[in-house]
Amino acid sequence: MARAATTADAFNAVAEPRRREILDALGAGELPVNDLVHALGVTQPQVSKHLRVLRDVGLVDVRDQGRQRLYRLNGPALKPIHDWVSNYERLWSDRFEALDAVLEDLKRKEQGAGGDE
């Protein structure tokens, strides 16, 4: 295997469906464990176990706020295995391709108004 050990660990971490659900939930923002328990419908020990794995490979960060522990996605940690910005870039590329079509329409109308053709 040519892949670095840390990358392989991250691959293993996201190969588990529950852990992908956790990452997905954290993609929308920072959450305490209780919210993740609710969102996933599994027990807190199970969620905690998955969170430990995700923290170990650096995909999730944690911080204390009062009595709560808040978990959040560490987006750039996905970088070794997938360029996480590329999805966002694709969103804008698709958006701008649609804008290209609108601009072609506007240009055609302007030419039409100018009396050409």
Partner: protein, 177 residues
């Protein structure tokens, strides 16, 4: 066709910079960017249907865009215009309607500066998105609408499964020999 992709960079921990050139004069790009019926034709990013575009194009005026994806997910954004230089520069706030509980909409909002620069009949559009924190900035990139993170994770799953399969078959092979 594929060469004209949007270029996305991260100048600082709180910023996203989007750049793209258009084969049209900037008056037309600005028009397409600020006219509701035109915005509704491109803002969907081919991920659904735009259901609402409201634009009150004056400083202090508000805007609101909404769309629905094929699976029924509704997303909406709104904000307020801070600075308007027609055909040149548009500064506005942007907030996602649907931030998780406990996150204030203000903390998750961004300041967006769009600059329209023309050269030789082509227009370079630059959008600088400034978030209030790295966390908020990362969440925007990770969400990337409905197929952002989900897409990345599905891709990862495929690769992980393929890699697990090849490991298993190698192992079986080893035992059989």
């Amino acid at each position: 066709m594929t060469s004209n992709r949007a270029k996305v960079t991260l100048p600082t921990d709180e910023q996203i910079l989007i750049e793209r050139e258009f084969d049209a004069p900037r008056e037309l790009v600005y028009q397409a960017y600020t006219t509701p019926e035109l915005v509704s034709r491109w803002w969907h990013a081919k991920r659904g249907e735009v259901t609402l575009v409201e634009i009150d194009l004056r400083v202090g005026g508000r805007w609101r865009y909404a769309m629905v994806t094929p699976d029924g997910t509704e997303v909406a954004f709104h904000g307020e215009y801070q600075e308007i230089v027609p055909n040149e520069r548009l500064v506005s706030t942007e907030a996602f309607e649907g931030v998780p509980e406990g996150v204030s909409e203000d903390d998750a909002s961004t300041l967006n500066t769009a600059v329209f620069a023309e050269a030789n009949g082509r227009t370079k559009l630059t959008i600088l998105i400034e978030a209030k924190s790295k966390l908020s900035r990362d969440a925007i990139i990770a969400s990337g609408m409905e197929d952002g993170l989900q897409d990345a994770l599905e891709l990862l799953e495929q690769v992980a499964l393929a890699s697990a399969e090849s490991t298993t078959s190698e192992a079986k092979h080893g035992i059989g020999d």
